[in-house]
Symmetry: C2
Subunit: 330 residues, 2 copies
């Protein structure tokens, strides 16, 4: 592998000048810059990242702790983070944690620190208690209040609370006396937020708050919820689309028509939501913009430590009305 000295020799300049060119530093004449780039091209030179990291103390990479699940939400968020990271010029290290993993987030953080990342993103965190690792880089927690003790913890989140409120209000607006809720696992902050938003919407309208069914995000748990849904229920807000689909399946089997007898709203807008029977009313999560905002914060914290963080504004809520919701039966 060619080194920067080789390029320097061929271009007839010092090694430091090669370094200047490859780091886009000022004070290099256009002529020299050209000669260096030509020489590099000719030799097939690439900057050695390990050497650069060792000398500079920074790796220009960030680590993501993802959930080990192909669920639409977490997978979309991960992709959003990758795109956003690429745009900021940072490389991305990914580690996943399974739910209930004993090593868990602490182990994941530790392995990322071993890899020498400049910052860490915790995607879709679960409330697993405090994280007992000393972290000396900024941490961005996506979708939850600061859940662990590090010197610099940042947060960005989809406004799940408002999204859930809007979904619930949509059903109340249609004339339903109240709205039932099939919640996600309450150890997930994302699930808690949705439940809170639903609760807030009911309270604001003085609607009775029916008991909550807590699912596990799977269509199977939604199905189970559907089998247990009280006979007088006319509207349900499910905390994700998969559970909504399972719920509808159970209702269909029981001879209860959606939306004539029972209206259902989901959450996520998964790609098939428009094509299930009936097409699902749902709210779409703005994964990309959350990832982008969050990473901007993180990069800022990495590159301008100590400085105040830029403020970001919340996203608008995207309610997508399809055929699974209607006024209650007469």
């Amino acid at each position: 592998m060619p080194r920067s000295v080789d390029v320097a020799r061929l271009a007839g300049v010092s090694q430091k000048t090669v370094s200047r060119v490859f780091n886009d530093e000022p004070y290099v004449s256009a002529d020299v810059r050209r000669r260096v780039l030509d020489a590099a091209e000719q030799l097939g030179y690439r900057l050695n990242n390990a050497a650069r990291a060792l000398a500079s103390g920074r790796t220009r990479s960030i680590g993501v702790i993802a959930l080990g699940t192909a669920l639409y939400g977490p997978a979309s968020l991960l992709l959003g983070i990758e795109r956003a990271a690429r745009d900021t010029g940072y490389a991305l290290h990914v580690v996943s944690t399974a739910e209930g993993d004993p090593a868990g987030v602490a182990g994941a953080v530790s392995s990322l620190l071993d890899q020498g990342v400049d910052g860490i993103v915790v995607s879709e965190p679960i409330d697993d208690g405090p994280v007992p690792v000393k972290v000396d880089v900024p941490v961005l927690v996506l979708g939850a209040p600061p859940a662990f003790a590090a010197p610099r913890v940042l947060t960005a989140s989809v406004n799940a609370h408002d999204m859930a409120r809007v979904a619930t209000e949509h059903l109340l607006d249609l004339g339903h006396a109240t709205v039932h809720h099939v919640a996600g696992p309450q150890r997930w902050f994302a699930a808690k937020d949705r439940l809170d938003g639903w609760r807030a919407a009911l309270a604001a309208r003085d609607a009775a708050e029916p008991p909550v069914f807590e699912g596990d995000w799977s269509a199977g748990s939604g199905y189970e919820a559907g089998r247990q849904l009280p006979a007088d229920a006319t509207a349900v807000f499910a905390a994700n689309d998969d559970m909504a689909i399972g719920l509808i399946r159970a209702l269909t089997e029981a001879g209860r028509k959606v939306p004539e007898d029972v209206s259902v709203v989901g959450f996520d807008d998964v790609p098939v939501a428009a094509y299930v029977t009936p097409p699902l009313t749902t709210v779409r999560q703005p994964f990309d913009s959350v990832a982008r905002e969050g990473l901007a914060l993180l990069v800022h914290a990495i590159e301008q430590p100590g400085q105040a963080l830029p403020v970001t504004d919340g996203q608008q809520v995207d309610l997508i009305v399809r055929a699974s919701t209607a006024p209650p039966p007469a």
Copy 2:
């Protein structure tokens, strides 16, 4: 940040001995090992990866080129790769490419090489023509024949051909005269394999081969296929579950009952497959085992270059029969 010399000083040994302990090298007495680990613990010492990489010439990391989509298949594969990489002790760098991205795979490879990975995994490749980058590390292509020119290219794949064949045979076995196919985009090797398997199954039974509808993996394209499905068709094999779901939606709207009038088989076994109406017959992809086998090959190629590669055996096919398939109408 403490360095290994600091640990050495505290433990009363040489710096090299600290290195030995942290690399699990032999020839360190149990007593010395303990002292070193205690000292490291006390100082909060972590091995510096950049220095290690610079000195050893290896980063112990591999890069993945993932597709920029939250589709169930690609997302599952990515997670499988992450788990497998973790098990082998390699860190994972992820880059995604959007379909039709001009920089494309070449740009992704280049950025991973800049990051200094020891090997590269190309997940779910698309036939985008040759990749014009000089690659000097082993490359594992998951799910396709060697599509690019690098000194060491390996392949591992789900046996999509056989899986498609089994799916098609299931329908023929039920008595259908032939089976229609809603294919995936043919630039994807994965889509091509499924089409070939379907074609092979028909040929083996001397069944007529109806024209193929080429979708784009989305439920919407499956819906479109459903609208165009000939009136005499009684069985369809869709190249993924989302398209199958869209297809069923279109048939339902047209008053054609599934499975009474038309049988449908999907591909993937997405989590909601069992809960759509009707529950979908499909084949499950063994993402985890493919990722595991592939990474074993890659790590072998990294660590024992030149040696023959271990042979891996294909996976069995997992046909999951649910309610979307039945004998043809009388």
